[in-house]
Amino acid sequence: MNIAESPLVRFSGVHKSYDGSTLAVRALDLDVRRGEFLTLLGPSGSGKTTTLMMLAGFETPSGGEILFDGKPITRTPPHRRNFGMVFQNYALFPHLTVGDNVAYPLTVRRVAAHERASRVAAALEMVRLGGMAARRPDQLSGGQRQRVALARALVFDPAIVLMDEPLGALDKQLREHMQMELKDLHRRLGVTFVYVTHDQSEALALSDRVAVFNDGALQQVDTADRLYEEPANRFVAGFVGDNTALDGRIAAVQPEFAEVALDCNATLRGRLVGSAVSGAAVQVAIRPERIALRDTTRPNSIGATVEDIVYLGDHVRVRCIVDEKTTAVVKQPIAAGPPPAIGARTHLEFPAEHVRIYA
């Protein structure tokens, strides 16, 4: 394996417990590739921050090893790791000016004054805060503080930049704007970013790859499209993007595919994820935009009644009742024609290659 392919960071069997009984992070095996933008995504309490803090060195793993460039860093104190870090509340030092904040990592590294000045200026220029060096942090807007924090984390050419929900405190519009800037910055600098968020659209928009966490366990690491199209398990299917899920039991297993007898007395064919034997309880999952509304029954379709229609500009969201326990959501593009009337009888067609069956 050559250098370019070897991972920059490797978590190897890492687990972490704060209280000695519950695991905040369990059996984590994760590679961070050189130059990638990796996002840790998961619901609250799933262990994202814990993972990032172990990488930063502020938390010590209870077991396992973290490797940086092939060398173990599990016991390296945080100030010797040379990782840039951006905190959710920015953590700009209030008693220093913007310029001194950005210069801080350079003074620590005893960079000569003239070089320091030029690097600070360049870093502020990079985040488009050229004239702001003399201000104090409390004289900046939220987005500007965010950029100062970024400049400070980047100015000393860190080996990797860690960010824990850095955009969490910004309003939606500013957040989306900053996402674009972050992505642009990442492309220009080529530095490895590890980013934590619980906002899946942010994760999908920013990242080269996304690592999905739940309950301390890594669920799947993949690119945004594969995460969306080929979720590895029920949790990922439900957590990333909209999902229509139906419960049933395996009726017949074929190579790669399986037939499922749904609890609502219909049978659907779909791609079997993992392995399951006949009779096993499974979940059938499909993206709402893959379901087609039909007037007549088709192969691999089930009957339903239109319950509710929400108009969303580019598409309508149709909620259908399959039986009293089961509802299915369908996204129909406006271009696909007028939606059915509320209360109308309809048929939901599930294209077998987009139906995923989870054990």
């Binding site: 945080p78 870090m85 030092f93």
Partner: protein, 412 residues
């Protein structure tokens, strides 16, 4: 003026109006408090400062004499009219207590004045005469000291209702007979030394409180709010016990056979008991104990508001944790350090009971002298002047604090 300028001018005046309205509202809301402060604080302090320069006794008792002495060079013999005037003035004093007040006041200026004045007053009235030389002879007949200049100098010097003498004396200065200001003799100077001692004890106590409180407050600030509150109550216990009880407790603890000395001896650390009582050590220990909460509370409240992320951020940027603490955390606590130190120092320079009970004669602070003049010598002028010096020192410190706070917003 362009339209834009006019617009800006309009906006400015609107802002000013707005500011005025807010000031008025604030004034209205605080009016009851201001009234309360006026009667409980400003008026008494004003009275105290007046007392420090008030000098009514001589001017009230001897108006004629003072008029007669006006223009006297204070070295040659007093003008003949002065003898007649003093006889008239003294005769006009009906009550013995009036004469006594005058005599006591003059005696604080020059020793021997009391007996001179009282003897003369008792010998009055004199047989009537209009001849100045005869009046002089009669006066000398009562007491020959009327021929000496000092009594006349003392009267002439205090002819005015207001005097700077008390304030000058409070900082070991005095007016000479001619009216110029000079330092008192080194062997008689006391207040400057006491003032310096007061400041140095307060400074030592402040520094010790800071050294003890800073780590404690930091430790408290790292805890959950519940535990921190529980421990804060322990810190605050001194607030709830009477100061005399605490002093008595310290006497028990610190005496040569007390727990502290016994434990030290038992641990083999000392073979003779340490002198911890009735000296500077005892005063400082007890004052630190009493004043510690005033340092802990401001520090804790400031530290509680500093998120841990700051130090973490500094460490992630490459700072050693200790350097991060010093360079990033400590500066953010300056406001608490300044507020706590100011509070402890100002409270400290006013301490009276603690040094009086736990200190030796060389450990008494300025308040002790205030009490001495007020209670023992009944010299309110001197007591108020010393109080004024304390007040001035306090205000000066506060002004410095405000000036620093304006230069360094982190302190405000």
């Amino acid at each position: 003026m362009t339209a834009a300028d006019a617009g800006i001018e309009n906006m400015r005046s609107a802002l000013r109006r707005d500011a005025r309205r807010r000031t008025a509202a604030a004034l209205l809301l605080t009016l009851p408090l201001l009234a309360f402060l006026l009667f409980t604080f400003i008026v008494p302090i004003g009275a105290l400062l007046l007392r420090a320069v008030d000098n009514p006794e001589i001017a009230r008792a001897l108006p004629g004499t003072i008029a007669a002495l006006r223009g006297w060079d204070r070295e040659s013999r007093p003008p003949a009219a002065a003898y007649a005037a003093i006889v008239a003035d003294l005769q006009a004093l009906r009550e013995q207590s009036d004469a006594g007040t005058l005599a006591r006041r003059l005696n604080t200026e020059v020793g021997g004045a009391r007996s001179l004045v009282m003897n003369t007053w008792r010998a009055l009235p004199l047989p009537a005469t209009t001849d100045a030389a005869q009046v002089h002879a009669q006066l000398i007949g009562i007491d020959p000291r009327w021929d000496e200049p000092w009594i006349w100098q003392a009267i002439a010097k205090n002819g005015s209702r207001l005097t700077p003498d008390y304030l000058l004396a409070a900082v070991d200065l005095r007016r000479t007979v001619e009216g110029s200001v000079e330092s008192v003799d080194a062997d008689r100077s006391a207040f400057r030394r006491i003032l310096m001692r007061t400041f140095s004890i307060a400074a030592i106590v402040t520094v010790l409180c800071l050294l003890l409180a800073y780590p404690l407050a930091w430790w408290l600030s790292t805890m959950t709010a519940r535990r921190a509150n529980a421990l804060l109550i322990v810190v605050l216990v001194p607030f709830w016990t009477s100061i005399l009880v605490r002093m008595a407790a310290w006497i028990v603890l610190l005496q040569s056979g007390g727990i502290v000395n016994q434990s030290l001896a038992a641990a083999g650390l000392i073979d003779r008991p340490l002198a911890l009582l009735f000296n500077r050590t005892g005063v400082v220990i007890a004052m630190v104990h009493i004043l510690l909460p005033f340092m802990v509370l401001p520090l804790y409240s400031v530290m509680k508001g500093i998120p841990r992320d700051y130090v973490r951020a500094a460490v992630s940027l490459g700072s050693h944790p200790l350097a991060a603490f010093v360079r990033v955390y400590v500066p953010q606590t300056y406001a608490g350090v300044a507020a706590g130190s100011l509070l402890v120092f100002i409270l400290g320079i006013g301490y009276y009971v603690t040094p009086a009970l736990l200190g030796g004669p060389e450990d008494q602070m300025l308040s002790y002298s205030v009490a001495q003049y007020a209670n023992v010598h009944l010299d309110w002028g001197m007591a108020c002047a010393l109080g004024g010096v304390l007040l001035t020192a306090t205000l000066l410190l506060y002004a410095i604090y405000r000036r620093l706070a304006r230069m360094e917003p982190a302190l405000a």
